[in-house]
Symmetry: C2
Subunit: 139 residues, 2 copies
């Protein structure tokens, strides 16, 4: 996992969605975007229960496809996300959560200084290798 998360080798896991489907739980992809900076922070998954919990509490809630349970983001880490708006796509088969970060970031990994990474998209694919772009402007 360390190499996958901290390495510069591209080792994409194209089987993710097949694993998600095998849980037998119908879920949708949710793009999570910082409402202020507009950085894309993470892609997670949601179902009816997670959506209702997000709407009721105002805290971004997902369905954990690895633990197969409701995932109230930040419940243990403190990296809570406040819901600012929820957008639905044309075909109603994906969601966009616009959020405000109440904690230090979104990613479960940490940067070289030991800080929670704000976004999960901290590497850019350049000439077949992954370059770290954290701390730099996302564009």
């Amino acid at each position: 996992m360390k190499e996958i998360e901290e390495g510069s080798e591209l080792r994409l896991d194209f089987t993710k969605l097949q694993k998600v489907a095998k849980t037998g739980r119908p879920v949708l992809p949710v793009v999570v975007q910082d409402a202020d900076t507009r950085e894309v922070l993470v892609v997670a998954y949601s179902n009816q229960e997670a959506l209702e919990h997000s709407l009721k509490t105002g805290i971004a809630t997902f369905w954990s496809t690895s633990r197969n349970e409701l995932w109230i983001k930040g419940a243990t880490s403190g990296d809570t996300l406040q819901i600012v708006d929820i957008r639905v796509n044309c075909e109603q088969n994906s969601l966009l959560y616009l959020v405000r970060m109440l904690g230090g970031g979104v990613c479960h990994t940490k940067d070289a200084q030991g800080h929670t990474r704000k976004t999960c998209y901290y590497r850019s694919l350049q000439n077949g290798k992954l370059n770290f772009v954290e701390g730099r402007s996302p564009i």
Copy 2:
């Protein structure tokens, strides 16, 4: 489809990823974001072939999970997306394409004026109903 795309009723299709998995093709979700305005435009799916085509041509290419074929975005509509950067998430199981629009938009739907919608996320969930937010600031 018309009601799903143009209506104000929330009718989420939570079965999307199960359908995607049933194609038997391993694909990843790809968030497509405007590199300049940072609007999230669409979530699509990609595999090795689509990623390689995107890198080789500089044009955002996906795997169509409905037609089960390579989908060079804009090849028929003209709504091509130029790749500015490709980001990879921590777990290497999703992608973020930062793009520049060379056509009129991204969505296959059209607004009241008959123009291609720039983003697929043109509706906001408010009190259980979908409100159209197109033409307004995304936040």
